[in-house]
């Protein structure tokens, strides 16, 4: 136990993690204060609407961190991480559906509205247990984790890597999207799960609950970041980088490459599931759209933009792109996709290592003193 405590506590001794946690916690505290203390109408007031929006960004940031763990450090470009996110979201959604009880439109004490609508007379077996919070929260981890375990076991055992792996992750999320669209699956078809009332007894429409969800998302991001940092800074993290750069060589050193890949992939999928579970109560709906391949590719864009293989870059990327998305879709919705594409082109051409790479090179230049010419920092 002592040994395992030490690998988990290693990130807290790193300066970069201390800075990250400091900034994150300060931001959480600031938003909370500006929401609670500053009166509405004051220019500094943060509305509950904004708090929920920020909470959504934070859950996306956790998803981006999870993706960066496998892409940045293990070299597995997953184009299907949205699937794990959505599965976590559906597990949470099923719990929230069961919490509605007889307050649904049809007033059935057990069956969710869409099942009554479909004339089902009993709950499918896989819906049992989701009325209990502990079971549902366990499923938030286990459902994506098990899918990643089975999928990863098959893929890594047959040494599928690179582009081929990316393509089958994409196929995976696409197949799940088609499956979840079907009414017979029992997950609400294309409408998904919605009309949630309360979570753990707290009213989801109340301001206090929304602030609580925002803080929970921030906390989950902090914990997820520390966990990823702990893995990355451990010897296992160095083995991951070794698998990424020279897989055959790592195998000859006696490491079971496929097990390293499987372990990291499953941890990442579980983190994505947690992110999905935090996302759903804040947006109030989960539908098969989250399984769409486009969404998974967007997540990759966040990470690429923020800077792959740094973890904090993934957080920056997720926050920046999603903020830009909110602004753009508000001001001129038709231009958003062009803006996203443009952003991506700019980053690949000018900042191949993303925003994090830019920050690192700025810091290096400061450390080297002002002797260097500042013009070519971005490309170095």
């Amino acid at each position: 136990m002592l040994a395992s405590r030490s690998w988990l506590s290693r990130p807290f001794r790193e300066r970069s993690t201390q800075i990250f946690l400091g900034v994150l916690l300060a931001a959480l505290a600031a938003v909370t204060l500006l929401n609670l203390i500053v009166p509405a109408g004051h220019p500094l007031h943060v509305s509950t609407y904004t708090v929920t929006l920020l909470g959504k960004y934070l859950s996306f940031a956790l998803l981006a961190v999870a993706l960066d763990l496998v892409w940045g450090y293990l070299g597995i470009l997953s184009l299907g991480h949205g699937a794990f996110f959505a599965l976590g979201g559906y597990a949470m959604g099923m719990y929230l559906m069961r919490q509605i009880g007889d307050r649904g439109v049809y007033g059935d004490p057990v069956l969710p509205d869409f099942m009554v609508f479909l004339d089902w007379d009993s709950l499918p077996w896989y819906w049992h247990g989701f009325d209990m919070a502990w079971f549902a929260f366990l499923m938030v981890l286990l459902a994506p984790g098990l899918l990643a375990l089975v999928f990863g076991f098959l893929a890594f055992r047959s040494r599928v890597t690179g582009v081929y792996l990316s393509i089958i992750t994409q196929a995976l999320t696409f197949a799940l999207m088609l499956a979840f669209f079907r009414n017979e699956m029992g997950f609400g078809g294309n409408n998904g799960l919605t009309d949630f009332k309360e979570l753990l007894g707290f009213d989801l429409r109340s301001d206090a609950t929304r602030l609580g969800l925002f803080l929970a998302s921030g906390l989950a991001l902090a914990l997820g970041y520390v966990l990823c940092r702990a893995i990355v800074a451990s010897k296992l993290g160095r083995v991951s980088v070794a698998c990424r750069d020279a897989e055959a060589r790592t195998r000859f050193l006696g490491y079971r490459v496929e097990r390293v890949q499987l372990f990291v992939f499953v941890v990442s999928a579980m983190l994505a599931g947690v992110a999905g579970a935090l996302y759903v109560p804040q947006v109030g709906i989960i539908n098969p759209g989250e399984f769409s391949p486009i969404f998974s590719i967007e997540v990759v864009l966040w990470v690429a933009l923020g800077g792959r293989g740094t973890l904090y870059g993934a957080v920056i990327g997720a926050l920046v792109v999603n903020y830009a998305k909110t602004v753009f879709t508000g001001v001129m919705p038709e231009a958003w996709l062009f803006a996203l594409g443009g952003l991506f082109v700019v980053v690949t051409v000018l900042l191949p290592k993303g925003v994090a790479g830019l920050l690192a090179s700025l810091r290096r230049r400061r450390d080297d003193g002002a002797s260097e010419t500042p013009a070519q920092g971005a490309s170095s």
């Binding site: 296992l236 083995v239 055959a248 790592t250 006696g254 097990r259």
Partner: protein
């Protein structure tokens, strides 16, 4: 009845019950033993009834023209390629044909590839750390902490391969020769019983070659070393016993002088590079 008695005897340890990493048994002399090994790819016989024995602590050079099956032989020993038939034994207890690559590696067979492959994003020190003999399962690797002893061992190997000054630099910025030495160092970290080294001096300068020769001859004795090499001058400078491969089987074996005067060898291989031989 006797059989049952024997099976029930308490002090009997069945081979399959013995710990997987049992010591390599070299009481009978050879550490590596290949017999009647053949493998063909699409009808082409890359290895043809190959017989080869390497003694414990020996430094053996293997030469042969391109396509003689040198690299395929290495692939078979390390478990990358399965032979069509034949047997491959490590010591007298371990049948390598029943094991996979990581198992063979953990038995103590280290391989250096032709092209140096180090982990370029990691530092020289970290490269050696990953190569160190250790429990390589997931959880022990995740919770691993570097002991003072391990640190000393890494520094010792750093000194042996002459890269102590580059300890904390990324392996990616090392020169070609330095990467080769780092890779040999990575093999040494595993405390191997048998080192397979594929063309260690290709692309090296004269000075780097000398340094490599010193390194390899210094290693023999503590472990067995098998070197596949094209450079005749280099082979002559390190070899005690040379094996000539031709069309997947052994053509001749003996000291460099014996081998180079063998008419068969001269005909198939050395003849084409006789100028090279004179120089050496």
């Amino acid at each position: 009845m006797n059989l049952i008695k024997e099976m029930a005897s308490r002090d009997r340890v069945f081979d399959f019950m013995a710990p997987a990493r049992s010591p390599v048994d070299v009481r009978h002399g050879p550490i590596l033993y290949l017999e009647d090994v053949s493998v063909s790819f699409d009808g082409f016989r890359a290895i043809n009834d190959l017989n080869l024995t390497i003694d414990d602590g020996e430094l053996r050079c293997i030469i042969g023209p391109n396509g003689a099956g040198k690299t395929t032989m290495m692939d078979i020993i390390t478990g990358k390629t399965r032979p069509d038939h034949g047997s491959v034994w490590f010591g007298s207890r371990h049948d390598l044909l029943t094991m996979n690559e990581p198992q063979i590696a953990s038995l103590g067979i280290g391989r250096k590839f032709q092209k140096p492959t180090t982990f370029e994003a990691l530092t020289v020190f970290e490269n050696l750390e990953l190569a160190m003999a250790a429990d390589k399962r997931i959880w022990p690797t995740l919770t691993a902490r570097l002991s003072g002893e391990a640190r000393d061992r890494i520094d010792e190997v750093l000194a042996t391969i002459g890269l102590a000054a580059h300890r904390d630099r990324p392996a990616g910025i090392l020169s070609h020769g330095q990467k080769q030495w780092l890779e040999i160092g990575m093999l040494l970290m595993q405390r191997p019983r048998l080192l397979l080294v594929d063309e260690p001096v290709a692309g090296m300068t004269e000075q780097e070659m000398e340094r490599t020769a010193e390194l390899l001859t210094g290693l023999a004795g503590q472990q067995s070393v098998v070197v596949v090499e094209h450079d005749m001058g280099f082979v002559r400078s390190i070899a005690r016993t040379v094996t000539v491969l031709h069309q997947g089987s052994v053509l001749a074996e003996g000291s460099m002088d014996q081998v180079s005067s063998d008419p068969k060898v001269v005909e198939v291989y050395l003849g084409t590079e006789s100028d090279n031989m004179e120089d050496a």
